[in-house]
Symmetry: C2
Subunit: 408 residues, 2 copies
Amino acid sequence: MAVYQATASAPVNIACIKYWGKRDTKLILPTNSSLSVTLDQDHLRSTTTSRADPSFKHDRLWLNGEEEEIKDGGRMATCIAEMKRLRKEEVEDKQPNEPKLSTYPVHIASFNNFPTAAGLASSASGFAALVSSLAQLYQLPVSPSTLSVIARQGSGSACRSLFGGFVAWEQGTKPDGSDSLAVQVAPQSHWPDIHALICVVSDDKKGTSSTSGMQRTVETSPLLQHRIKHVVPQRMVDISKAILDRDFDAFAAITMADSNQFHAVALDTEPPIFYMNDVSRAIIALIVEYNRVSVAKGLGRKAAYTYDAGPNAVIYTKKENVKEIVELIVKYFPQKEGSFKDVFGLFGGADVAKSEGSVVEGFNEAVAKKFEVGAVKGLIHTKVGDGPRALGKEETLLGDDGFPKTLA
Amino acid sequence: MAVYQATASAPVNIACIKYWGKRDTKLILPTNSSLSVTLDQDHLRSTTTSRADPSFKHDRLWLNGEEEEIKDGGRMATCIAEMKRLRKEEVEDKQPNEPKLSTYPVHIASFNNFPTAAGLASSASGFAALVSSLAQLYQLPVSPSTLSVIARQGSGSACRSLFGGFVAWEQGTKPDGSDSLAVQVAPQSHWPDIHALICVVSDDKKGTSSTSGMQRTVETSPLLQHRIKHVVPQRMVDISKAILDRDFDAFAAITMADSNQFHAVALDTEPPIFYMNDVSRAIIALIVEYNRVSVAKGLGRKAAYTYDAGPNAVIYTKKENVKEIVELIVKYFPQKEGSFKDVFGLFGGADVAKSEGSVVEGFNEAVAKKFEVGAVKGLIHTKVGDGPRALGKEETLLGDDGFPKTLA
């Protein structure tokens, strides 16, 4: 008997123009367009195996080995139902000989290769991997943009993880959301030396969830409407141009301004929402000073910070500057030995925790104090990456019995 | 020989609707109107003695016993020149027998009774006291609003310290600034049970000066223009009504929203400006939770936080709630013994540092962690107060020789 099963992985993406606010909470239609960089799946990814089998009792899902309930009418159920609908309409209705997979229950196993404690949102890569694995299972002849419409209904920013490179989520105008989808602004190959350094920041405060936080902003922030109508549209145009021109200085200026403005409207909310803490602020001070020195030398901005709904910094920079920035961060935020995975061999086997830290000429060291070990819990170095990948049988997360394999 | 000398004191004011941005930096004309509560001079004040004497060589100023240079064309020189001009036009030109004090050099001694380390801006009370003492010295037949026009040119927010109670600074529209002045919305006696608790927050970061910071915001924040044009005008109307109605719930809601929005536009600046730190954020979390409980009980908001260009919190509340709020703050921010000056006898001689802290019924204690001693360096309890006071000879800061007395 045939086994209908497919495995896919999908990347994390970190926005440069931030998504904050829904105009339709059920369909997850945003109040403004957004734009992100897709990060490399070699380092951070969600992997999902989906199997359709008429013998299964009902749809089931396991996340990192633990079963999660698929709630009726919930986001997960919506995504699965939409994928089954596409299977029926695009495949089975047109080719009557194809198996009626849309009528079979599915078992889905998903795994994130980064710990929850890292504070990286896994919903974007997770829903993108889910949709990608089902698209592969169902042999859907549809574009990533079409799939992005479905992933969007799982988690808004998931739609941007359907592409590699530099990705825009166009807000769209239709009430049914069919034009609220992701498009690729430029592939990874267009500007492959965009690297990212994720600074995982310790936080002793439980943050406001982005889902509830963004709606409070929509309801109470007087500034959000101005941002939506008068700021973001031009920034989308400007940052797309910066990417196409490989103009890092402009890319950095817009990215930082938009991170600041997202946190500004969060603060303009009642009651105010804070995601950044004193460590986040200190990292900003370092990057501002690093850029000040670089601009003074006529080199333009060399780094761009951006913060999502949490205290972690993501620093975008060109490959050639990463080592210098890692050393700068480590100088102010001492790391535990062996904590940095030097995947690009920047330190050639030397422990970054023992790095003396290069002195950037002209850098005013007083812009931040030196923090205690653990203030920045870890550093992850990655780069712009590709879109979802179809994986082979050796990567499957479901055993022959259709249940999750025990992870070694 | 006659001695021409006068001494005045003037209060600190803390804005509920924030002043942030100038449309004319020389005349100090603001981009929006603002509104403040004048605090009681019994607790916080600047005192200034001015003497005019033809034997003096030139205008001189001593601040807290140290001589400060009066720079040509600087703000201090402008204020003194404007006061001399008023003396000439309003007194000497009209009454030729009056002595020509406007032609005499002045010696000015000023003293703030609160330490610079408290992080309270002394420029507002300082310029208000300067202008008040000169107005008294010169026997000027002019209103506090007229004097406020001159104090404004020393330090913008100083104009609001020319009145007691609840004071609006109307931005005005004239290019010469003659209609950019302070008016009293309501006197202290209208709502005397508005109290203020200042939480002096420790900071290890040198902040951005408000003078340079606000102009960076004017130049770079896309959100500021919306605030100026579309948010502040209505808030000025609404908070004035709340004050006239003694509607604390509305007063608190607007005050907190405007503090948040001021910090939001600071954050929307390039590079971003942060004045609040993790301790400031924790105090906000406590007040938000305190109000949540109170609103749930049908009592409305009982407290309002507001933050100026620094990490200190000022909490406005009605007299009846101060003790509860002090205990709440002390619970999360332990105080050193003997550090709290219990000027209103809330604790009847007991040391607030030893207070167990009352438990507010229904309060979720997990909204903030308990900080170490020193995170909040001190608490100052005061209340709405009166405007500048003319003081008697026993308060003079200048000796018979016309030079500052040595302060005992």
